[in-house]
């Protein structure tokens, strides 16, 4: 029981002290899990990051489940995930409940407008970074543009676009590779 609580608490700290999640969480994960607790090696952590990125869901949650499972089996995975989730749940629920009441406040309005500007800048920057990493061949660029147009101007559900892209990848990846090796 103690080890489950330990897992919960470690991920609770990680969830409660990092902003943004995903990649920005890596230094904190490394510090807590590799250096302080010795639960996983750095290579294992990076592997699990790679898996977290190519499986559905929030990367931070995927990583928590993976490390927890490696350490103490299924219950370990669940406790780690609950630890990761708990701070968000408490903090955001509190804010969401009270913010509505302050929404009319003039100063909060000014501050939020400023924050929105940064959020747009940060997100545009994320898109740029993603584009640099994912647009690795002409065919990828064509597909990206095609999906972008569908997402912007049609009502095709996002799920369908993701599934289509997986099928596209399986069908055409060999083709792209074959050309590269020629």
């Amino acid at each position: 029981m103690k080890q489950y609580f330990e897992l919960f608490w470690a991920f609770f700290r990680i969830g409660g002290l990092t902003f943004g999640g995903g990649l920005s969480m890596l230094p904190m994960l490394k510090y807590e899990l590799v250096e302080k607790k010795n639960w996983v090696t750095e290579e294992e952590l990076l592997d699990c990051y790679a898996i977290g990125q190519c499986t559905p869901g929030i990367i931070a949650v995927n990583t928590a489940t993976f490390v927890g499972y490696k350490k103490c089996g299924i219950a370990g995975g669940i406790f780690s995930t609950l630890g990761m989730v708990a701070p968000s749940l408490v903090i955001i629920t509190t804010i969401a409940l009270f913010l509505e009441q302050f929404m009319g406040n003039k100063w909060l309005g000014h501050a939020l407008m400023g924050v929105r500007a940064v959020v747009c800048a940060l997100m545009l920057n994320t898109v740029l970074a993603l584009a640099k990493k994912s647009l690795i061949s002409p065919l990828c660029i064509v597909w990206c543009v095609f999906i972008f147009l569908l997402a912007m101007f049609t009502e095709v559900p996002t799920i369908l676009l993701v599934v289509m892209s997986g099928v596209f990848g399986i069908l055409f990846n060999g083709y792209a590779k074959g050309r590269k090796s020629e």
Binding site: G15, T18, F19, G20, G22, A50, I51, Q53, C54, P56, G57, A60, V61, T65, Y69, G77, S88, L89, I91, I92, T93, I95, A96, L97, L99, H110, A111, L112, M113, G114, V115, R116, A117, V118, V119, C120, A121, L122, M123, L124, T126, L130, S134, L135, C140, W143, F146, I147, F148, A151, P157, T158, I159, L161, V162, S165, G166, V167, F168, N173
Partner: protein, 185 residues
């Protein structure tokens, strides 16, 4: 009660199909603004702003916020559980049965196609967020919010400078909140 199931179901679907972490949930949340009257696009931009400026993974924060916005405290817990459960199941299955999952030929090929699509989906969602954040949508016309657009452009420019990329996002967010108050955005 039926609404709660619906909320759980929608977030379960997001958890199952949002590949690429937090930002990848954004296009799905946008779908929700069109499908249900749970929250508006304007509220979604607030959710994104709050989720970015509070601790915790972006995707979890947005899910909790959306749930609370839709159905109160219980809604927040339900949407978050919905989002997380597919992850737990998928990851445990992979850890248990699929050594070398990320090295698998078919998985690699599928992701070769999914990655550029996720970029496109996130780009489209981000443009939607920018539209609502940087313009006043009044009637038919889009009124630009000049101050916000300028601040956004300046910070985006600064983010391209290598040396400034180490700065923690929360620093940008706090300074922007102060700028917003000082210059009465």
């Amino acid at each position: 009660m039926k609404e709660l199931f619906l909320l759980f179901g929608e977030f379960f679907k997001i958890g199952l199909f949002a590949v690429g972490g937090g930002p990848a949930t954004l296009p799905f949340l946008m779908d929700l603004t069109e499908k249900y009257d749970w929250f508006t696009m304007k509220q979604l931009t607030n959710m994104v702003a709050i989720s970015e400026s509070t601790p915790g993974p972006l995707g979890l924060n947005m899910a909790t916020y959306a749930g609370v916005q839709t159905m109160g405290v219980f809604g927040g817990a339900v949407s978050t559980m919905g989002l997380v459960i597919p992850s737990i199941v998928v990851i445990i299955l992979i850890a248990k049965f699929m050594e070398g999952f990320s090295e698998n030929r078919f998985v690699k090929a599928a992701f070769w196609g999914i990655r550029p699509a996720v970029t496109a989906l996130i780009a489209a969602a981000v443009l939607g967020i920018c539209k609502v954040s940087l313009f006043v949508v009044g009637g038919e016309q889009l009124q630009p919010e000049i101050k916000t657009i300028c601040l956004c452009a300046v910070i985006f420019g600064l983010l391209q400078i290598k040396k400034l990329q180490k700065i923690h996002p929360i620093v940008w967010i706090l300074s922007a909140a102060i700028i917003g108050i000082v210059f009465r955005f």
